[in-house]
């Protein structure tokens, strides 16, 4: 089989897949050892039964011819009978039996063929059902492992990998591996067993005739291999062209307003027309190969049959072969070509599955940067003291540090505002507290514990987070508010919603708290989602709170409501706020001004206004909110021609 695989490997041209990972995947069948053993035992039985059928056909035909010859010779003298019988391949005993009851052999053969039909049917069902079942089990295991791994992989992994990519691996790639393990592998084994069995039967039936048809076999093998090599790249081309066409279509649907506004329909239609034309030509090219592939394969198989008819016929006429044997031979020949065709397909499937298995294991084998260290202890109930000690941090694979020697402290109950330009490291600071990333140098301490010494679960459960981009999950509104504490009582959920100014709009829905939230919260407005996110954080009643106080895409009234809710949320907790609002800054106990990953200044608003140029600059640019004045300033700064 390995031989075959090497021969067929060029089929998977894009990447030369390593079959090691596919082997690892096949190893998962070990989880379903009994079913797998049953499947392959059934395979042996059903294939044997299949191999017996041509023999039975011979038996029937021989029974008929013998019977007829016996009847014919009934009146002849014994010597002549024996001589004639020998001519059609009957021993004298057989001849006597046949003469006595010509039907016995026929009925026996008929009974046996029916028996083998039943055996074949039952065990063929059993083999593919069991194998599929095991395959589904393996896919189940893979998906679970992938899911668990993806859930636990640190933020930095998710920064580097897109959702879509991970999705494809957990769905399409797992499917391809499953298809191979559930069907392909079984078919391959069956094909090999059948091929070997049929070849042996051919040789046993008639060596000479076998040698006549044998040269056709390599021809068929070459055909199948060549087919794989030719079609694989063609299919990829079709895919590329199809997706080009779909891109045009999608852009036109999504951007229909722009297209109509600029009246560019004729141009777009031409673009689409061209793409459709290119795709059609490619499709027709594939069609050409596919249309003739099967006819040519059948032609080769038929050449074998014609050869058998001619050379077998000669042997029959020369009495070295019976008609029954000849029929049997041509049936076995079918059983040789059939598995050859199967193997051709399986090899293609196998190299795809190997590539997929590689991609699946890329995730499963990905190292997780942030994990509980051995002997990590749960963090005791947090009081709320947070300290950064000379923290530096850089993102995976990046040479430039995002944070450099950052030190500050927050006492329980304080509000810390973090300010700075885009890219100054604001989000990195807040991401280090719940240990979404690990520091590259220095320490982050919560109540004096290094966050790396405590369990992730105990740390994160005690920190509330409200991010700017709100993800809600499928389920009811209640489920979403209780996301961090699924065991919360209804009263607690309602109380949290009230504090987050979400209760009223929730109650306005017909189903209230049981209103389902669509995929990614599609049925709620941006402001509503944000308030649910606030309620979600409130319900944890965390001692430490992290939030991004920018509000996006909401109308004025909603924004006021949301900001009031945020103010309530911060009261009495150690809060870290990426500050967008002046009021936040004014009421903060401590303001950290970040500049290129360093703390440029810290202190209260009044202190900083006195001492820090950068702060004054940031503060002013936020305060100068009248765009007319801003535009004038701009015009002075860089005159417009």
């Amino acid at each position: 089989m390995t031989q075959n695989v090497r021969g067929g490997a060029p089929a998977g041209k894009r990447e030369r897949p390593s079959f090691k990972t596919l082997g690892r995947a096949v190893g998962y069948l070990g989880h379903y050892r009994n079913i797998t053993i049953l499947a392959y035992a059934a395979l042996l039985l059903s294939t044997s039964a299949q191999l017996m059928v041509p023999q039975m056909v011979q038996n029937i035909l021989d029974a008929i011819t013998h019977g007829l010859v016996a009847q014919q010779l009934a009146g002849a003298p014994a010597d002549a009978q024996v001589a004639a019988a020998a001519k059609v391949g009957m021993s004298p005993e057989q001849f006597q039996q046949t003469l006595a009851n010509p039907y016995t052999a026929l009925y026996w053969a008929l009974g046996l063929i029916l028996m083998f039909a039943v055996i074949r049917g039952l065990f063929a069902f059993a083999q593919s059902y069991m194998s599929e079942k095991a395959g589904q089990g393996v896919a189940f295991d893979f998906r679970n492992e992938l899911f668990a791994k993806i859930q636990r992989l640190s933020f930095s992994y998710h920064d580097r990998n897109r959702t879509g990519q991970l999705m494809v691996r957990a769905t399409d790639d797992v499917e391809k591996v499953r298809l191979f393990i559930g069907q392909g592998l079984l078919m391959a084994v069956q094909a090999l067993v059948l091929l070997t069995g049929a070849l042996i039967m051919l040789l046993l039936t008639n060596v000479q005739l076998t040698l006549v048809v044998l040269p056709i076999l390599p021809l068929a093998v070459v055909m199948f291999m060549g087919f794989g090599m030719i079609t694989q790249p063609l299919f990829i081309k079709v895919q590329v062209k199809l997706s080009a066409l779909n891109t045009v279509l999608q852009e036109n649907l999504a951007g229909i307003k722009v297209i109509k506004a600029f009246a560019t329909e004729p141009r777009e239609q031409k673009r689409f027309d061209n793409s459709a034309e290119v795709l059609m030509r490619q499709q027709i090219q594939v069609q050409l190969i596919f249309s003739f592939l099967f006819p040519v394969i059948f032609l080769i198989a038929n050449l074998g049959q014609a050869a058998v008819l001619y050379f077998g016929g000669q042997q029959i006429i020369n009495s070295t072969l019976t008609i029954g044997e000849w029929q049997k031979f041509s049936l076995y020949l079918l059983l040789v070509f059939f598995p050859l065709g199967q193997l051709g397909f399986i090899i293609t499937q196998m190299s795809q599955a190997a590539a997929s298995a590689n991609r699946v294991y890329e995730i499963l084998d990905a190292p997780n940067e942030v994990t509980d260290k051995p002997g990590a202890t749960p963090l005791p109930e947090i009081k709320g003291a947070v300290q950064f000690e000379n923290v530096s941090f850089r993102y995976f694979g990046s040479s430039e540090p995002v944070l450099n020697g950052v030190s500050f402290a927050a006492h329980p109950g304080q509000t810390l505002a973090i300010l700075g330009a885009t890219g100054s490291g604001k989000s990195s600071v807040i991401n280090l507290i719940p240990r979404f990333y690990d520091v590259t140098g220095g320490k982050v301490l919560v109540d004096g514990h290094d966050v790396r010494d405590v369990t992730l679960d105990s740390l994160r459960r005690q920190i509330g987070i409200v991010l700017q981009e709100t993800n809600l999950f499928t389920g009811s509104i209640r489920d979403n508010i209780a996301f961090g504490r699924p065991d919360a009582s209804d009263e607690e959920v309602v109380a949290a919603a009230k504090s987050a100014a979400a209760h009223d709009f929730i109650e306005s829905f017909p189903d209230g708290y049981e209103t389902p939230v669509g995929e990614r919260g599609a049925t709620l407005s941006g402001g509503q989602k944000q308030r649910i996110a606030i309620a979600r954080a409130l319900l944890l009643n965390p001692r430490i709170l992290i939030l991004d106080d920018s509000t996006s895409s909401v109308d004025v009234q909603t924004e006021v409501v949301i900001q009031q809710a945020l103010d309530r949320l911060m009261a009495g907790r150690t809060s870290f706020v990426i500050a967008q609002r002046i009021s936040t800054v004014l009421s903060a106990d401590n303001i950290i001004v970040l500049d290129k990953g360093r703390v440029a200044a810290q202190g209260t608003h009044l202190e900083l206004m006195e001492s820090s140029e950068i702060y004054a600059e940031i503060y002013r640019s936020q305060l100068v909110e009248d765009p007319v004045a801003a535009a004038e300033e701009d015009a002075q700064a860089e005159p417009v021609r």
């Binding site: 008929i64 008929l110 039909a117 899911f147 016929g313 996301f483």
Partner: protein
């Protein structure tokens, strides 16, 4: 060849409503290719003929050459034995009437060999037959390949026509249609439906038709050779059909369930991958893993149930095939041994072998037809949906005598305009408005008041239901759409960018603009600053939907796009979402420059825009409740005043505190109407 039918069982299928009509219409698309289709039909018949011929010739080889040779040898061997025993009086043994040629008389197309000939004569006859058989094989392969190719060729052309028809039609549909339909839904419907149609009109249709033809032809041949024997041999055919239909219907039903389950699995997967940060932040990993395990298991179980049916189908058919062989051989054998005739003809060994060949050719077509039929049906249903789309009435159509819009000066009048999307639910009621060339009209009001609808009437994205919209005294319904729309610039809130270079995205506003003009427009829009910082500058290819750019940057590009078109009439939907202070200022400056000297309608969210406007319209529930300049409206202390104050109060608080805090602050006015935090 293998796994084909099973793959088809897993596909989504649906039933058409009016098959006949849809098929006729689809057939209309084939009209230009009728010659090809006739060719396909001819090839199909030829191909089926080769299929019927093969078992026939195999049977003839037995009856005409093999058996006669054998019997004559057996006879001569026996005669020789008799001769050896020196019994001259003994009768020579005659070749059996049944085994030998007479039965096959008239059916030996390659010549009968007279009894008692030498073996070489029989071999020569056999050789002629095998040559004939080879010719049949070659014809079969050639016709088979050619018919699939020709049908595929025609099918691809039809598909392409269908695709471009749909695409062109999409452009003719009004924005109202797109308001009612999600673009993602439309997209998947079009791509899915065309791909089902593609499969069906190429490969599947040929397969089903030629399979059906072969089954009927073989059955007819068998019955006409010997109707009783034929009927007995055909016994299993209805059984095969029933088995296939039964298993495939059930398999399909189960697979429908699996699609639901795998949908759940995928949804959960997607949600937890995109929400992985939240999951970790709230320490929900274990709970999520547990819940995923459940839907994953449900999916596995549903699949195992479905697989039971597909796993049973092929073995059941195979077993039935063996039963058919047993019937043919058993009945034929008993008849031969008893020396009886059946239905008037003698059963020969060759006939048995021919019939075995025939029944073996039944299996595949029957399974294929049953399995593929549902797919053909669902392709018809797909075609029906495509035709529905093509038949979607155009609510915005050019008048037959529409003239091009002359160069626009910018005088716009709304006369008693009403508009409604649904009958009886007006979105705009009796809107009266006049804008002089060069004026800026700001429209404010709560969400759903009809602001967007109002501006959409100008480029005729929608039509009024009552009254009229006139530009320079010409009703917009009387001019051609292209001439009207190319003269109106539109800057939308959510800027759509094409996956093309920055240069070409800006150039979209005027395709014949040269690079210098594009750069100038970008400079006017204050976009050249960030463009210069992109990896490849103006040649940077923007990702899908302009990913990689911030909201503010995208709006700058939209402004540049409008600027390069240099329209006299401008429609602007200001972004509500927050952008950083610097970008905000740039957008403001760019807009001021863009608006200058053009008649513009602005859905306003910035106070500065409103202040600078020549007219401010306050739109509430489809009616203009207040109009005037910013100052006039403030003085009126009405709806606008409330709207303004709700924002102003907050601003004022901030300003008070900050002016106490520092003299750096310049409390010289309120912030934007919608929040624009830094």
């Amino acid at each position: 060849m293998m796994g084909g039918p099973r793959g088809m069982l897993e596909q989504e299928t649906s039933k058409p409503r009016s098959t006949g009509q849809t098929v006729r219409r689809l057939a209309g698309y084939f009209k230009p290719y009728w010659l090809v289709l006739i060719g396909v039909l001819a090839l199909m018949i030829l191909n089926a003929w080769t299929q019927v011929l093969t078992p026939e010739l195999t049977g003839q080889s037995v009856d005409c050459y093999l058996t006669p040779a054998l019997t004559s040898q057996a006879a001569s061997a026996a005669n020789a034995a008799l001769g050896d025993a020196a019994q001259p009086a003994g009768q020579p043994i005659q070749a059996s009437a049944q085994l030998a040629a007479p039965a096959a008389a008239g059916r030996c197309w390659f010549g009968e060999v007279p009894a008692g000939s030498a073996p070489s004569d029989y071999i020569a006859g056999l050789g002629r037959l095998v040559l004939g058989l080879l010719a049949v094989f070659v014809i079969g392969a050639a016709t088979g390949g050619l018919m699939f190719y020709m049908m595929g060729w025609a099918g691809q052309h039809v598909l392409r026509k269908l695709q471009t028809d749909v695409f062109d039609h999409l452009h003719e549909l009004s924005l109202g249609y797109y308001g009612r339909h999600e673009s993602g839904d439309l997209m998947s419907r079009i791509t899915n439906d065309t791909s089902t149609i593609q499969q069906a009109i190429g490969f599947t249709l040929v397969q089903v038709l030629s399979g059906g033809l072969i089954v009927v032809w073989i059955a007819w041949t068998m019955l006409s050779i010997n109707w009783v024997y034929g009927l007995l041999s055909l016994l299993v055919v209805p059984l095969m059909a029933i088995v296939t239909v039964w298993f495939s219907t059930r398999a399909r039903r189960e697979f429908r369930r699996t699609r639901k389950e795998i949908g759940n699995v995928n949804a959960e997967l997607e949600e937890s991958i995109s929400g992985v940060r939240e999951a970790q932040a709230f320490a929900r990993e274990d709970a999520n893993i547990q819940s995923f395990r459940q839907s994953n298991a449900a999916n596995r179980d549903a699949n195992v149930r479905a697989v039971a049916y597909t796993a049973a189908l092929a073995p059941a058919l195979e077993a039935l095939g063996y039963v058919a062989i047993a019937i043919v051989a058993g009945v034929g054998g008993v008849l031969m041994l008893q020396g009886q005739t059946l239905g008037g003809t003698v059963v020969t060994l060759g006939l048995i072998i021919t019939f075995i060949g025939f029944v073996q050719r039944f299996n595949q077509p029957i399974a294929q037809i049953a399995v593929m039929w549902a797919n053909i049906q669902s392709a018809i249903a797909g075609a029906e949906r495509i035709f529905d789309l093509l038949d979607e009435p155009l609510d915005i159509a050019e008048r037959f005598d529409a003239k091009p819009m002359p160069s626009i000066q910018g005088h716009v009048v709304f006369r008693h305009v009403t508009a409604e999307y649904k009958k009886g639910e007006p979105v705009l009621k009796d809107i009266e408005l006049e804008a002089q060339p060069g004026q800026t009209i700001a429209i404010v009001g709560p969400t759903g008041a009809g602001k967007t609808t109002m501006v959409n009437l100008l480029p005729r994205f929608y039509d009024v239901t009552g009254g009229s919209v006139e530009i320079d005294g010409i009703d917009v319904r009387n001019v051609t759409l292209a001439s009207l729309r190319t003269q109106i610039g539109v800057v939308l809130q959510d800027t759509f960018l094409f996956s093309d270079t920055v240069m070409n995205n800006i150039r979209y506003g005027r395709p014949d603009a040269d690079d210098e003009e594009v750069v100038a427009a970008a400079k006017l829009a204050r976009a050249d600053g960030f463009i210069a910082k992109l990896k490849d500058g103006y040649d940077t290819v923007l990702g899908e939907r302009g990913a990689g750019l911030s909201q503010g940057q995208r709006q700058l590009l939209a402004i540049a796009r409008a600027a390069i078109a240099d329209p006299q009439l401008l429609i602007l939907d200001e972004a509500t979402s927050s952008v950083d202070t610097r970008t905000e200022r740039q957008i403001q400056a760019a807009l001021d420059q863009l608006l200058a000297g053009r008649t513009s309608f602005v859905i306003a969210h910035r106070l500065s825009t409103i202040r600078n406007a020549d007219q401010v319209l306050v739109l509430v529930k489809g009616e203009i409740v207040e109009r005037g300049t910013h100052e006039e409206l403030l003085a009126r202390e009405g709806f606008y005043y409330d709207l303004y104050m709700s924002q102003f109060k907050r601003q004022e608080q901030v300003l008070q505190v900050s002016s106490q805090a520092s003299s750096v602050a310049r409390p010289n006015g309120a912030g934007p109407l919608a929040a624009q935090p830094a």
